[in-house]
């Protein structure tokens, strides 16, 4: 942003310097614009400007019927599309009090956990690259390719899966798919150890992440943080354990908790979560029942009049759907999505105040936001 000769030097005057980070910036994970007020290098205040990727998903849902909306949910958090589908589909089933066959629930859990691993891999890659460790980015994406191949084999798409329907799943698993998933589950823990050797006790990584963006449990809950960002502050809150959905009640897995609520805790929490996801997938594959994958669903989905809110644990946090149906038309009267990325992003100004510009880059990475979900 070139300014004329004199203002360029006045950049040194002791009064504040206002710079724009984004919306086109290498490390804002999408079209996010931060207006930073700096005193030298220190961030005094930050105004977050969003809406550049607003496609009006909630308005679109009022023109589409319940099956077509699954496509829209894919494109909100495009890094974790399976979780979006799962959240939406389960809310509609709750609205219509539909019974989903056990096998479909197990497959849905496997898909959701694979999606969590893929989303955390993208998070780790971009977060590490922002702080300078470029190699980790390449390693993470190599593993993510394996997950994408699994999804492609199941539902034909790598990013926007459209893999679930109200009442169950459109298609059953192809033969050999489970063996491939097991192979991936055996491979991943070793790879996570590789990332740990590169980063976990790397002095420079520790110095860039320890005590950066500290937030206490109470503040985190109040500002609306959910998911790994909240659990890193020591708050025991995981929708998979608190309000078990799909087949989660049949599996045992730990929910990792952080102590200080800084960037390093959020990093360790997410790594442990990846390992736990592998355990869940393995348990799900072992206990996979037979049977149909699609419940009894009327041809024209027309839920009874009423409203409900149902939340699932997406990789970013609590992803909730609030659907109001008027009982007459084929499309929902009102569909509201509770986006974890937006609520986590709201905490950014509080986290960043007092830190340096270089930390803001690390903080954007640590709250793991995807602008598709923030702007909807």
């Amino acid at each position: 942003m070139t300014t004329n000769r004199d203002t360029a030097t006045s950049a040194f005057d002791t009064d504040e310097l206002v710079i724009n980070m984004g919306p086109q910036h290498p490390s804002t994970h999408g079209v996010l614009r931060l207006v930073l007020r700096l005193d030298g290098e220190r961030v005094i205040d930050m105004d977050v400007v969003i809406g550049y990727l607003h496609r009006g998903v909630e308005k679109l849902t009022e023109q589409r019927d319940y099956t077509q909306i699954v496509l829209l949910t894919d494109r909100m958090d495009y890094v974790a599309a399976a979780s979006n589908n799962l959240g939406y589909v389960e809310t509609v089933e709750k609205l219509m009090s539909l019974e989903v066959p056990k096998r479909a629930q197990y497959i849905r859990t496997v898909l959701a956990e694979l999606q969590r691993i893929a989303s955390h891999l993208v998070w780790l890659g971009t977060h590490a690259m922002d702080i300078g460790a470029v190699t980790v980015f390449l390693y993470c994406l190599r593993e993510r390719e394996l997950v994408l191949d699994l999804f492609e084999e199941y539902c034909g798409a790598r990013l926007t899966y459209n893999a679930m329907r109200v009442g169950g799943l459109p298609m059953d698993l192809s033969t050999g798919w489970e063996a491939k998933v097991r192979a991936f589950c055996d491979l991943l823990p070793g790879k996570i150890d590789d990332y740990e050797t590169l980063l976990t006790n790397n002095r420079i990584w520790l110095e860039r992440t320890k005590d950066v963006g500290v937030i206490s449990g109470a503040d985190a809950t109040a500002i609306g943080l959910t998911g790994p960002a909240l659990r890193a502050s020591g708050v025991r809150r995981d929708v998979r354990k608190d309000e078990p959905y799909a087949a989660y009640k049949d599996f045992d897995f730990e929910v990792p908790l952080g102590t200080r609520g800084d960037t390093y805790d959020r990093y360790t929490v997410r790594l442990i979560e990846m390992r736990q996801s592998v355990r869940i997938v393995q348990q799900a594959l072992d206990g996979m029942p037979d049977g149909p994958v699609m419940g009894k669903v009327p041809r024209l989905i027309k839920p009874p009049a009423g409203e409900t809110y149902h939340a699932i644990e997406s990789p970013k946090g609590e992803l909730g759907y609030f659907i109001v149906s008027d009982g007459q038309s084929l499309s929902p009267y009102r569909l509201r999505v509770r986006p974890p990325s937006l609520c986590n992003l709201q905490a950014l100004p509080q986290l960043a105040r007092g830190h340096l510009v270089a930390d803001v880059v690390a903080l954007i990475g640590t709250i793991d936001i995807v602008l598709g979900e923030v702007d909807r």
Partner: protein
């Protein structure tokens, strides 16, 4: 007449071409090493295994349009890259590649000159290179390059102190400023100074990394924060000069490191009898081998380590390296007197 003019000019030409081709292939090597570390192939398209990639880069940079922002200061904008490249190249005048060989009947020493203030010459020329950075950032007259050029110069000035201290502690052990004498002293001592002064070597490598804006200290060009650093506004030939200077500085620093710590052109394990045949290999081969070793250390560090934040970098420089270097200097002085 011959000795005064023809031979030095010939030597200079040889050294300049050697350095420039080394820089070109260093760029390719860096991209290859980083690619192998990151499980990918690196440039493969130009020539077999991307061997001709450096030539392609040079051609691209030369033919690319040389844009200069309108509000930039014309005179300084062109002066800055020159002020960066020239100091980087003229340091090689003092670096000894080997003792002397006889070529077509005449005794030729494998270094351009043997200044008895060689080391001081290197340090002072390196401090001139600083101007190019600052003026480059100032001349492009926009906020980001200005900020990053000041960061770069502050970083270089503070690490220069630490590096100079380590070199001084080496002069104390070697007893002379001239690089040729230092290598001869290592030969006399029979042991490389890296074993006598391990702490100094560590500080030197860290300082060198910081002084050439490399690896964990490549803050000024950190894309994530200052969008391209001080050469954002440069393109085409001028950018090529900045790029050239960075890699030449890397070679300079590793060459100096090798001369001071790893016994310039000395063959390793000269004292071990059954390894004596290593001595048959000419000196300058050993020198380039060791320099290559130090350079690959740079590349390897760049591929793995994340980046320091600016204030941590300065704290490390001032509160850790400089005191350590001073203590090292004091200790080596005392040892010199006692031994």
């Amino acid at each position: 007449m011959i000795d005064m003019v023809v031979i030095p000019v010939f030597k200079m030409l040889v050294v300049i071409t050697a350095v420039l081709s080394a820089v070109a292939y260093m760029v390719l090597l860096e991209r290859k090493v980083q690619a192998w570390v990151q499980v990918r192939l690196g440039p493969m398209r130009v020539g077999p295994h991307g061997v001709l990639q450096p030539i392609a880069d040079v051609l691209k940079l030369i033919t690319k349009e040389d844009v200069r922002p309108a509000s930039a200061d014309r005179f300084l904008f062109t002066l800055a890259p020159i002020l960066v490249v020239v100091p980087a190249l003229i340091v090689f005048a003092v670096v000894p590649f080997g003792t002397s060989t006889t070529m077509f009947g005449k005794e030729i020493s494998l270094y351009i000159t043997d200044l008895d203030i060689g080391l001081l010459y290197i340090v002072s020329v390196a401090s001139i290179g600083l101007y190019g950075l600052i003026l480059g950032g100032w001349a492009s007259n926009s906020k980001y390059p200005l900020l990053s050029s000041l960061r770069a110069s502050a970083q270089i000035v503070s690490y220069e102190v630490a590096v100079t201290m380590t070199l001084v502690s080496l002069i104390v052990t070697a007893g002379s400023l001239s690089l040729v004498e230092i290598v001869k002293a290592q030969e006399a001592h029979g042991v490389w100074y890296v074993f006598i002064q391990p702490v100094a070597f560590v500080i030197f490598v860290i300082g060198a990394l910081a002084e050439t804006n490399r690896a964990p200290f490549d803050l000024p060009e950190a894309e994530q924060e200052l969008v391209g650093g001080f050469h954002t506004e440069y393109s085409g030939m001028r950018f090529a000069l900045f790029f050239l200077a960075e890699y030449t500085n890397m070679i300079v620093v590793s060459a100096v490191g090798v001369t001071m710590f790893l016994g310039g052109w000395l063959a390793p394990f000269s004292s071990v009898s059954w390894l004596a045949w290593l001595g048959l290999v000419p000196g300058w081969v050993w020198f380039s081998l060791k320099t290559f070793l130090l350079l690959s250390l740079f590349l390897w560090i760049r591929a793995t380590l994340p980046r320091y934040r600016y204030d941590q970098l300065m704290r490390l420089g001032w509160k850790v390296l400089i005191p350590l270097a001073l203590v090292n200097l004091a200790v080596s002085a005392v040892l010199k007197v006692l031994l």
